[in-house]
Amino acid sequence: MQSNLIISAIVALVALAAGAVILPDWAMFLFAMALAKGLVCLGIVGMMRGGVVSFGQGLYYCLGAYTATLVANNFGISDIFLLTFLSALVCLLVGIAFGPLLSNYRGIFFAMLSLALSMVLYGSLSKMSFIGGTDGLNIAAPTFLGWAPEGRPLQAALYIYVVTISVIAGTLMRIYFDSERGLLTLATRDNELRVEYLGASVRNIMTYNYVFGAVLGGIGGTIAALALGHVDPEFAFWTTSGEFVFVAILAGYLSVPAVFVSAIILELVRSFSNLYFPNTWQLALGIFLLAVIIALPNGLGSLVRRWKGNKA
């Protein structure tokens, strides 16, 4: 099982990395952004497995993005590895601070309280005109262990970086989902009472999932900020978080790769509808959302499972 996982991870890595050669520039950027957002959504999927959905994952997406930007602008650090690590660390600490609090909430209350927290960050950043207020900040292109590419090589390097992180994070999360803790998470979603009476702490399980989501959100935000070259408080706005939730629901909680595929699909749909229906792209997107929710109630991952079921 584990060795199969490693093999499929390597295959996915190679297949995706080939995109650095074959993809046109715009698509490579779109994929990089989609994968960065996919990381955030992977965190939501981790929480979904425990039965809660965060409507405020923009909090960590934004926190990661701003951490990287402020560190880069104030301390002259441009190394992508270091920036990613620092953002992840900040999000880890904030996640540890809020995790135990949020782990008491379920359903719509968890969703709304997480949303409130991210809106507080949005409001605070909007007020801080010394770091750009609502207009946000720019961040220079990253370097890779001293290498400072430009143009297509920069985009390709960023793309390979996010592909690698996504595959590693995806593999680790898959190992976690399949682990004893992962099974406990599923059991919690199903029947908290049973889990408590088996002697496990439901809060503890929820907290871990939340903290993992925080770290993944921070990493996704950092990469998105570096790819875009710009951050603004909109990263923490509820519509941003809503999009992450949509990707997570579209993917379902069964399959990890489905998360990234969903993120890419959403980016493609949005990009093309925006271009071809500039006046009605929201309508197009809304119809697409509804169609997906109706056609695939358990997410894209259920397709994969069904497909495998048929073959078995």
Binding site: T280, G286, P297
Partner: protein
């Protein structure tokens, strides 16, 4: 006028508006268990519809009896509820009953996106104005300040809405049925309640209240695209503070948010953007399910 009194009056006016826009949301959640993001769209459509209707009223000789425009405002909200209520509830939402709450939020988010563009297709992007009803009721002088009579009409409307909803739920046969469905829809169904009809009725009532909020607001603003977005979040906050599904909760939530916002504008203008989230976070910290949530002890 004393500062505290000004804050109170301003807070009450805002709270009245908040209550009207959020009570429908909490009613729909209570009955259908759906937190309806499209509530904001219904609000905006109510504003557009009333702008059109009131405009048409004055265009067809309404100047002779300008007070008729208030009937047009309410009629607009009724029309929105009659058209969109069944369309959304029968046509879409009923397929999602009993599904995950968060999934349902996304369904209504999709509806919200669709309606945003539909409004643009129907009404275009140019603003609509119907100020006649706003100035018709004259000024009210309180101390050194002038208020518009209409502001107090909004408070009155909020009180009437609150009373009607409360009396309907607690003192009529229909209300008892609705409360039974809120309490336990499966049980009600087995006891012969036509749950389908209750759902439709509650959603239409919710749509009417959202549209009424928009219709009453239309005379004091310019009705433009993007109107709904800002309403959703404040209405959500009020409803979460009060406890999802609780009508008195919506009233208390509206008062808390309204008065604390007024206090912030007068005393600490910098904080206005946060105040609503601040109140919400504080309430949720101490009452995780809001002030008036129905607590459910699980029997094992």
């Amino acid at each position: 006028m004393d500062l505290a009194a000004t804050i109170l009056v301003d807070g009450l006016i805002y709270a009245g508006w908040l209550f009207i826009v959020s009570v429908g949301l909490t009613l729909v959640f209570g009955v259908l268990n759906i937190l309806n993001i499209a509530h904001g769209s219904l609000y905006a459509i109510g504003a557009y519809a009333s702008a059109s209707l009131v405009g048409a009223y004055f265009a067809s000789g309404g100047d002779a009896f300008p007070y008729g425009s208030y009937a047009a405002l309410i009629l607009a909200a009724v029309l929105v509820a009659l058209v969109l209520g069944p369309l959304l509830e029968r046509g879409l939402l009923r397929f999602f009953y009993g599904r995950d709450e968060v999934l349902n939020v996304l369904v209504t988010y999709a509806v919200f996106l669709i309606l945003e563009d539909v409004m643009k297709l129907i009404w275009g992007v140019n603003p609509y104005f119907v100020y006649e009803p706003y100035t018709l009721l004259g000024d009210v002088e309180i101390g050194p300040l002038f208020y518009v009579g209409y502001d107090f009409a909004v408070i009155a409307a909020a009180i009437i809405v609150g009373l009607v909803v409360w009396l309907t739920l607690n003192h009529t046969q229909i209300g008892k049925v609705v409360l039974a469905v809120i309490h336990d829809s499966e049980m009600s169904q087995t006891m012969g309640v036509n749950v389908q009809r209750v759902y439709l009725g509650a959603f239409m009532a919710g749509a009417f209240l959202a549209a009424l909020g928009g219709a009453l607001t239309a005379p004091m603003i310019s009705v433009t695209p993007g109107l709904g977005v800002n309403v959703i979040i404040v209405a959500f906050a009020v409803v979460i503070i009060g406890g999802l599904g609780s009508i008195p909760g919506a009233a208390i939530g509206a008062l808390m948010v309204g008065i604390s916002r007024a206090a912030s504008v007068h005393l600490l203008p910098e904080a206005e953007l946060f105040i609503i989230y601040f109140v919400m976070a504080i309430v949720l910290l101490f009452r995780p399910e809001g002030l008036f949530a129905k607590t459910q002890a699980r029997k094992i």
